[in-house]
């Protein structure tokens, strides 16, 4: 018996055999090999014993009374289900057809009579190996299924939490935004955020984190927080970008980053300001001419460069009412066909060219992707924002929760911002926060911010930097204007903008006087004010807005000093 393979583990083996002599012989051999034996003398009994005892392995005679081995094999295999219960036919049959019938009925092997104990032991061991393998596979499959279900559950929970954060902005509420995002795009790293600034401009971010799954989604939370927090407080793109970059650089590992396009759409200025770091180019679509201006990636993605090296320079493009900005993630362009050909920007431009109904652009793109590939990937994000008139100015109510008992009503303060500060610092969010300590002004925070923003940028751009707003009369001049603005600001070494704030209580409420002075050349107030209020002109819109929103406006010192007033009544 030395050649016999050692028994790994004692098995319970069912032997079904109608010949008492054979049954005794086989039982003895199998017991000697260290296994436990159950017996049956016909097929029906075998099925019954199997059901009751669940043996590991079955040795089955083919020809038996009551129920033959073939039928019993079929039933036992059915009862065993997914688990492998090896079934070896005991047979004196010789014809290949009969032997094949054994296997067809679910048998795994056969053993010819008369029995050879060595072969029998080897077969039992071989079948036992298969049985274990199958058990391991099943166990691992169940484990994977369990993990997968767990992962899906985690994603659902994370998505639910994240949807609350991501959609706390205006992405769903704004009538001028349309977007299409795969439901689990977040777990492919795609992120889409939109929110209004206090003056009614809209900030939009489309981002794409490296990688997939939860690692790609974790960076989204801090990014969204910075985006919403800073947009609501009136920070511009440059400061928001700096903060987002610094935060991601600090928290993400070196190989993770976020490609992003950040936009500021301003109905008031009829312009879109853009920063693109690593995203495919989006487009400004001029509806009147059909022209599409690409919004190229000019920067490294967010979270790569240190704060000192980060470049926050943006580009500004003019827009008319009804013009659209279209952004997309690389899932659109990288959709591959069966030959690994990518969809690519050229095919996208063809879809643009063929598009007849602007409102059906997404559907057209989806159709083109489907025709190209057969199905759309699950990391496809597209967003389109239309410049619309009459974006209402909003109060920043939710930011403040105190009751107003300690509200300051009789004070004044003056600031002087000098060249080096003007270059890199935007004082407006700070000033707004200060003024919103006055509860009576909170209702008008949007108007207040818009007026402050206009007066400040007039003082800086037309005053300190000496830029002529008439440059902005056409699209080319518009780009020229913003180029000059950046150049002159970078070279600035003298000049100032002063802001004087005076708050006095009245019988029914209070009055805020805001005076802004600059070190520039001044301007001919009479002549500028005599211009008609022209809503669709690219230049000179600022002053008309200021005149509409504040209760009084007055210039002095040859246009170098401007004073506005805001009044409020008793709080309800």
């Amino acid at each position: 018996m030395s050649v016999q393979a050692p028994v790994l583990e004692a098995l319970t083996i069912l032997i079904a055999e109608d010949s008492a002599a054979d049954l005794l012989l086989l039982s003895t051999i199998v017991r000697r090999q260290g296994h436990q034996v159950l017996t049956a003398t016909n097929g029906a009994e075998a099925v019954e014993v199997f059901t009751r005892e669940r043996p590991h392995l079955v040795l089955m005679d083919a020809l038996m009374p009551v129920m033959d081995g073939f039928e019993a094999a079929r039933r036992i295999k059915q009862l065993a289900g997914e688990a492998l219960v090896p079934l070896i036919f005991l047979t004196s049959l010789r014809e290949s057809e009969a032997l094949a019938q054994c296997l067809d009925a679910g048998g795994d092997d056969f053993l010819a009579k008369p029995y050879n104990p060595v072969i029998l032991a080897a077969k039992i061991n071989a079948m036992d190996r298969l049985r274990r393998l199958q058990a391991t596979v099943l166990q691992q499959r169940d484990l994977i299924a369990k993990h997968h279900e767990y992962l899906l559950h985690e994603q659902r929970v994370a998505k639910a939490v994240f949807d609350k954060v991501a959609h706390s902005g205006c992405i769903n509420a704004a009538p001028n935004i349309r977007y299409l995002q795969s439901p689990y795009a977040l777990f492919n790293g795609d992120l889409l955020l939109a929110a209004y600034t206090p003056s009614g401009d809209m900030h939009v971010l489309l981002g794409d984190f490296t990688g997939h799954g939860l690692p790609a989604a974790v960076g989204a939370m801090p990014l969204a927080e910075v985006f919403y927090g800073m947009t609501a407080k009136g920070y511009g793109l440059a400061q928001t970008l700096r903060e987002m970059n610094a935060k991601l650089k600090r928290i993400l590992p070196a190989d993770m980053f976020c490609c992003a396009t950040l936009l500021c759409l301003s109905t008031q200025r009829r312009a879109v300001e853009v920063w693109n770091g690593g995203m495919p180019e989006g487009y400004v679509h001029e509806v009147a001419t059909g022209k599409r201006t690409p919004l190229m990636s000019r920067h490294l993605p967010l979270g790569v460069l240190s704060a000192e090296q980060f470049d926050d320079s943006t580009e500004v493009w003019p827009m008319a009412l009804g013009d659209r900005v279209f952004l997309l993630s690389d899932g659109v362009l990288d959709t591959a066909d069966t030959n690994e050909q990518l969809f690519g920007a050229e095919r996208l431009l063809q879809v643009f060219a063929a598009n007849r109904e602007p409102d059906r652009l997404f559907e057209d793109i989806e159709q083109a992707l489907a025709a190209f590939r057969g199905e759309v990937r699950d990391d496809v994000s597209m967003v389109e924002i239309t410049l619309q008139a009459g974006q209402s100015l909003r109060a920043t109510g939710p930011l403040y929760a105190d009751s107003g008992q300690s509200c300051p009503l009789d004070w004044s303060v003056s600031f002087e911002f000098r060249a080096d500060t003007l270059k890199r610092y935007n004082p407006l969010p700070y000033l707004l926060q200060l003024l919103l300590e006055i509860h009576g002004l909170r209702e008008q925070s949007g108007a207040l911010y818009s007026v402050m923003a206009e007066l400040y940028s007039n003082a800086l751009e037309h005053g300190v930097l000496g830029l002529d707003s008439r440059l902005k009369r056409d699209a080319e001049g518009f780009a020229q204007y913003y180029r000059l603005r950046n150049e002159r600001l970078a070279q600035l070494d003298t000049g100032f903008v002063r802001v004087h704030v005076q708050v006095v209580p009245t019988d029914t409420g209070g009055t805020l006087s805001l005076r802004v002075e600059d070190s520039g050349q001044g301007f001919d107030v009479e002549q500028i004010l005599a211009r008609p209020l022209d809503i669709d002109r690219l230049s000179g819109r600022g002053l008309s807005l200021v005149r509409q929103l504040s209760s009084t406006v007055g210039w002095s010192d040859g246009g170098r000093s401007v004073c506005v007033e805001f009044c409020w009544g008793a709080l309800a």
Binding site: A254, D255, F257, C259
Partner: protein
């Protein structure tokens, strides 16, 4: 996909050759070829001549390599990139961090 390394005779230049798809599946192999090179080479060359595809996690791996090679002080050349691969490097503006030829 395969990642191979060549160290120049003087030990100053490490060349990493990536064949096939350069994506997350090459993560470990890619790290292995530069992490155990001593002394640290002065120049690292990433040869993409036979690289057919590159995704954003490959860009992340290049950043890891740059970090390992000294961050802002590192000098890394990325050579022989195909037009498709070059497009991906260009969109991400990686030419600001790497010498791309």
């Amino acid at each position: 996909m395969s990642v191979e390394k060549k160290v120049s005779m003087d030990g100053k230049t490490l060349t990493i050759v990536i064949k096939g798809r350069f994506d997350f599946s090459s993560h470990q192999d890619f790290r292995n070829v530069y992490e155990d090179v001593y002394p640290k080479p002065e120049t690292v060359v990433v040869d993409l001549k036979e690289t057919t595809y590159m995704d954003s996690s490959a860009l992340g791996m290049l950043l890891l390599l740059r970090d390992h090679a000294g961050g802002d002080k590192a000098y890394i050349r990325v050579v022989n990139s195909s037009s498709d691969v070059r497009k991906i490097l260009a969109i991400s503006n990686f030419d600001k961090l790497f010498d791309i030829e």
